[in-house]
């Protein structure tokens, strides 16, 4: 008598090993039937053992499936993050035109970070912050900021990206009321400017890990892109082209 009926013979390596052990489990029944006395208790016990083994295998497969699913979701997130960073990097370095670079910075902030108020400053030789570009804010208010003032000034002084906690102190009065983060731009280790991000889009409740990656990318790549555009302008002016 075969123990592997179509119902009890599952596919897959792990379950095969369970199935192979079944003939031994039902040996008592075979002996009993040879004696002419069917041993229903032994059969029931063997089937119960088989059921238990199959349940264990199913549970194991479910766990593996969950692990694969989690790994897949993780890879998808990683893929999505890499795509975003690639797009940001590619967009910043595909031109030497300053106006296009500034537009790209805007697009990265609006479309990839999800922020609706932003100012880009450059650091003047006297340390003051001069507004280079902005959107969603009163340009007059942010035209020129003193060095060392508030969280933006601190970020520029320390060269560290500053993310503002809700209700956190140190803000420069009304100027930084809705400040979310400040990213100092660094070229060759020197702070050459800063991006101040204010209100996020309504559907974006908080900054994510990917946003911090984008900030780190902007910190150096936007600074380099702007520096290259300045060099290009100088070369153009020297050669009497454009500028």
């Amino acid at each position: 008598m075969s123990s592997q009926t179509p119902e009890t013979a599952p596919a897959g390596g792990s379950i095969d090993s369970v199935s192979k052990s079944i003939p031994q489990q039902i040996q008592p029944q075979d002996h009993a039937e040879q004696d002419g006395e069917p041993n229903h208790e032994a059969t029931a016990q063997a089937l119960e053992q088989e059921r238990s083994a199959l349940e264990q295998t199913v549970a194991q497969l479910r766990t593996e499936q969950q692990q694969f699913l989690e790994r897949y979701v993780g890879l998808e997130e990683q893929n999505s993050a890499l795509t975003t960073l690639y797009v940001a990097c590619q967009s910043l370095h595909c031109t030497l035109d300053r106006a296009e670079i500034l537009l790209t910075a805007r697009e990265i902030i609006a479309n990839l970070v999800g922020c609706e108020e932003y100012v880009l400053f450059s650091v003047a030789p006297d340390g003051w912050l001069i507004r280079v570009d902005s959107f969603g804010l009163d340009t007059q208010v942010y035209e020129k900021l003193p060095p060392d003032a508030g969280l933006i000034g601190r970020a520029v002084t320390t060269g560290e990206i500053c993310q503002i906690e809700e209700g956190g102190g140190g803000r420069a009065a009304d100027l930084e009321a809705n400040l979310t983060a400040c990213i100092p731009l660094k070229h060759n280790g020197v702070v050459t400017g800063a991006i101040a991000l204010f209100r996020l889009l309504p559907q974006k409740f908080e900054l994510q890990n990917l946003d911090h990656e984008l900030f780190r990318l902007l910190q150096t790549h936007l600074a380099h892109a702007l520096h290259c555009s300045e060099l290009q302008q100088r070369v153009g002016a020297k050669n009497g082209v454009g500028a």
């Binding site: 998808e76 893929n79 999505s80 795509t83 975003t84 690639y86 797009v87 940001a88 590619q90 967009s91 790209t104 697009e107 990265i108 609006a110 479309n111 990839l112 970070v113 999800g114 609706e116 889009l201 309504p202 559907q203 974006k204």
Partner: protein, 130 residues
């Protein structure tokens, strides 16, 4: 099997590149692009895409207006449209649906969400044809 033709409409180079990367990475689509609503209407008539992913705020013609124009034409009224909105408040979403869009996504675009919606809408369109 024929590749599904998807028209991507956005005036932002960065947003367009992002959408192209998402769709190129994960599925077998033929991608065509337009840079504003007017060009989107023209390309829709010429190319008859299987689906349109369109930004709302654009020069010359907005995504909302383009959506209405596409719905007015017999040849194009059936084409599923996903609007990409910067602001996800209910009033903005309602304006989008009133213009005739089938679904919407908000910025920053979530790749998985966009793919799921595209696949759902293209599948539903195929079912409707059969």
């Amino acid at each position: 099997m024929r590749h599904k033709k998807v028209l991507l409409v956005d005036d932002s180079t960065t947003a367009l590149l992002m959408e192209q990367m998402i769709l190129r990475n994960r599925a077998d689509f033929e991608l065509i692009v337009a840079r504003d609503g007017q060009e989107a209407v023209e390309k829709t008539l010429a190319e008859l895409p299987d689906l349109i992913v369109m930004d709302v705020v654009m020069p010359r013609m907005t995504g909302i207006e383009a959506c209405k124009q596409i719905r007015l034409q017999d040849h194009t009224r059936h084409i599923p449209i996903i609007l990409v909105t910067t602001r996800g408040e209910p009033e903005n979403v309602e304006i989008g649906y009133a213009s005739g869009c089938n679904d919407y996504v908000t910025k920053p675009i979530n790749g998985s969400e966009l793919i799921t919606k595209i696949v759902d809408l293209i599948g539903a369109e195929e079912d409707a044809k059969q």
